[in-house]
């Protein structure tokens, strides 16, 4: 009889706090998954922001080319970097880089930057590199230039 009581007591002791522990573990797992979702949304936004900036910088270069068709490449790069700075992307600071690249006779604006992550840092300490590209030629065609 005493043995039965002792067994029951031992079982009760084991079960004490189990719901709290289980809830805590599930909360941590849920928070990790949701945290990664926040990071993914944040990265998507940074990428989207960089893409809008690349599009507008390309439009700025197109307008400059329309006004001054003989503009030199360094001047166009300066124009692109000045326009990007107005959009919060200052070349050479905070890992931001603005380039004009030529490939097969076409010019494109490339906006690069590192994006910070919050929860993802636990499994990947390095920042994520974001790159957005907008073709100057395509915008010129779209704008009828």
């Amino acid at each position: 009889m005493n043995g039965e009581v002792a067994k029951t007591q031992a079982r009760r002791n084991r079960q004490k706090g189990s719901a709290l522990l289980l809830t805590l573990l599930l909360t941590l797992a849920g928070a990790a998954i949701l945290g990664l979702t926040v990071d993914a949304m944040s990265l998507l936004w940074v990428k989207s922001n960089a893409q809008t900036t690349a599009n507008l910088v390309a439009a700025s270069v197109v307008l400059e080319l329309e006004r001054n068709p003989s503009a030199s490449e360094p001047y166009l790069v300066e124009t692109a970097r000045a326009a990007a700075a107005w959009n919060g992307y200052r070349h050479g600071t905070d890992s931001v880089a603005i380039h004009l690249v030529r490939q097969e006779g076409k010019t494109a604006v490339v906006v690069e930057r590192d994006a910070g992550v919050f929860f993802l840092r636990a499994i990947r300490p390095q920042p994520v590199a974001i790159c957005a590209r907008a073709a100057v030629g395509a915008l010129a065609v779209k704008a009828g230039l």
Partner: protein
């Protein structure tokens, strides 16, 4: 019976914290998603004005306001974001020797080769499910602010 009650109490203690955490993270996730929508709205706006960008350099304030209003209606219809606002603003800048630019204000400034920029601003109010997040800096609006050089 007692054990069941204890588990229930433990669950009841932990649940509010779990809910606050989940809803809070969900709120921030939704905020970033709305920010992304604002970026898309800005790109849509830009594609609509791309054809006549140079014309925005000479438009006066009233015309610019009217353009903003009509663009806002179009973008609202196409994006389905009925509460958002679109505003076009014009800014002037003076190029500096180091390649950077200084924004011109009403103060008279010696400037050669003045430059004009068009600001494309889209805003949409955001309301977190967890109201107290406002006290921790949760923003009031999702927004996108961009500039394109006109001249």
């Amino acid at each position: 019976m007692k054990e069941r009650g204890a588990a229930l109490v433990e669950f009841a203690v932990a649940l509010p914290f779990a809910l606050i955490l989940f809803i809070g993270i969900g709120d921030f996730s939704v905020y970033f998603w709305r920010q992304n929508q604002m970026e898309e709205a800005a790109r849509l706006t830009t594609s609509k004005i791309a054809l006549a960008l140079a014309g925005y350099a000479s438009a006066d304030a009233e015309v610019l306001h009217r353009f903003s209003q009509s663009l806002q209606e179009e973008v609202r219809k196409e994006s389905g974001l009925n509460g958002m606002t679109i505003a076009l603003t014009r800014h002037y800048a003076c190029p500096l020797a180091n390649g950077a630019e200084q924004e011109l204000t009403a103060e008279p400034t010696q400037c050669t080769a003045e430059r004009a920029y068009l600001g494309v601003v889209s805003d949409d109010p955001v309301e977190p499910m967890l109201g107290p997040l406002r006290a921790f800096g949760f923003p009031r609006t999702a927004f996108s602010r961009h500039m394109v050089r006109l001249q």
